[in-house]
């Protein structure tokens, strides 16, 4: 993946009145990859994506999407990208199939509409008007509309909000197939499991800036504390165990016989714990390493207080 990034953002600034929505944001998005943009409400995710889509003008910084300026080169750009808005975007009286067929007609080499309808389970929508479709059906139609024109790059704004588990998995599967065929995807989401399952790259945004960036594995490993647990006989000498462990590591007996060690859990630490147990004649039953989830990392970075 050494090719040019499909999205290149440098020092992006966007203000609404006196409120700064995006505050010097830098982000590169790799070709052929799935990039998840995470962040609390109001962090600037949708604003950033909508600037990339050409809907809003930046107040500062530069944005290049597929090498183009999203505002100045809007006409050339919009034939090459696919867009799924957070909601709406469909005539309220239109049926799913006719809306999708209509979108297909605006493109030169659209996907086979019947196959796409089948693929996303939209066949059941029949003659129902868009406004009477379920939230999940509306979401899947919006996704189908984003991909029907065979774009190089798709922007999905919370693509699985309101979907049932089956529809979520169908959506994820489609995004993986798109990736396998070389389509680049940028998605915003509130679901950490979605980012862990789907994303090659994650960017966490808060207060208009990227505050963490990497693969889900890198983010879960780096920074955050991990935990090692085991059970043994009650009343082990925790102070002696602590002495054996490196600085910055904590050990405690949570309930009689249940021990927890937290810190930088790595193979060396595991070996230290097991050899201490061997020296003290302890069999560490149920020894387990708990890796932190992306959600832990996210909450650690962005705080736990509620956002507007």
């Amino acid at each position: 993946m050494r090719s040019e990034p499909v999205v290149q953002i440098r020092g992006l600034i966007k203000q609404y009145g006196s409120k700064t929505a995006v505050d010097g944001l830098d982000l590169d998005i790799g070709q052929g990859r799935v990039t998840a943009v995470l962040g609390p409400n109001g962090a600037g995710k949708t604003t950033t994506v909508e600037i990339c889509e050409g809907y809003r003008r930046a107040d500062g910084g530069t944005v290049r999407v597929l090498g183009l300026d999203p505002v100045a080169d809007a006409a050339r750009l919009r034939t090459r990208i696919g867009v799924m808005l957070q909601s709406g975007g469909v005539y309220s009286g239109a049926r799913a199939e006719e809306m999708l067929r209509h979108m297909a007609k605006l493109h030169a080499h659209p996907l086979d509409v019947d196959a796409l309808i089948e693929r996303l389970g939209l066949g059941g929508c029949g003659r129902t008007a868009y406004r009477r479709l379920s939230g999940g059906q509306q979401q899947r139609l919006a996704l189908a509309m984003a991909v029907v024109g065979r774009p190089e790059l798709i922007f999905l704004d919370e693509p699985t909000a309101g979907l049932d588990p089956q529809a979520r998995h169908a959506t994820w599967e489609l995004v993986r197939e798109l990736r396998a065929d070389g389509v680049s995807t940028v998605l915003t989401t509130h679901f950490m499991d979605e980012a862990e399952e789907l994303a090659d790259e994650v960017a966490i945004i808060d207060a208009g800036r990227v505050i963490a960036r990497g693969t889900p594995e890198q983010l879960c490993r780096g920074g955050a504390e991990n935990t090692l647990r085991f059970t043994g006989r009650p009343g082990l000498d925790v102070a002696s165990l602590l002495n054996a462990l490196p600085d910055g590591t904590d050990a405690a007996e949570l309930t009689p016989g249940a021990y927890r060690i937290s810190g930088q859990v790595n193979p060396l630490l595991l070996a230290t714990v097991t050899s201490w147990c061997a020296q003290h004649g302890v069999m560490p039953d149920g020894i387990s390493v708990e890796r932190h989830t992306l959600e832990d990392v996210f909450l650690e970075l962005t705080g736990k207080e509620l956002r507007g």
Partner: protein
Amino acid sequence: MSTGTYAPKPGAAPLGRMIAAQTAFETRMLLRNGEQLLLTVVIPSLLLVLFSTVDIIDTGTGRPVDFLAPGVLALAVMSTAFTGQAIATGFERRYGVLKRLGASPLPRWALMSAKTLSVLVTEVLQIALLTAIAFALGWSPEGDPFSVLLLLALGTAAFSGLGLLMAGTLRAEATLAAANLVFLLLLMGGGVIVPLERFPDGVESVLALLPISALSDGLRDVLQHGAALPWGSLGVLAVWAVLGLGAASRFFRWE
């Protein structure tokens, strides 16, 4: 689907094909909407039949249908180009349809062209129906078709500009209420079924400057009285068209 199905192959359809597809789609949405049909087809037809056959309003000398048919044609143009277009576009804006189409290969000017073509297609259908009803009621029109077409075209431009101005600036619910209210007021006070001479002199001269009055009286000058090119009416409509379309292009907000 098999591997390679989604391999990128982007591109816009040819412009003509996009506009044709968008026009057909918009027209289908419009003809499917029951409230729109009430406004564009049912009300004008009912007014034409009712007031031509029942002597409720004094329409002057001559047969009522000769007075009413031009007024109802003007009403048909207003119902589609102004009321219908304002309401439909207002809700398309509200539900992000205009926004979503803004990210499609269809340029904005092409979307607006398709909307205009869709209005014209609807007007052709309305005029065919209303003309047939009028003939069945014994209508005998005068005048030259060119003047009629010119009046209808300028009337459409004037009403489209005002309708889009409303749709692009007000909330969808406000547009819905205001467009219906304006429809009703102009139906009563725009020379459609009630001759403007029935109003007091001062009021009449103000009402005569409304686009609906200019269109209905202009059509009446030609179709009832056989006049060629009614310049006064054409001038009023042209001013409204320039003001309405100018303000709409200046103030229209897509989101």
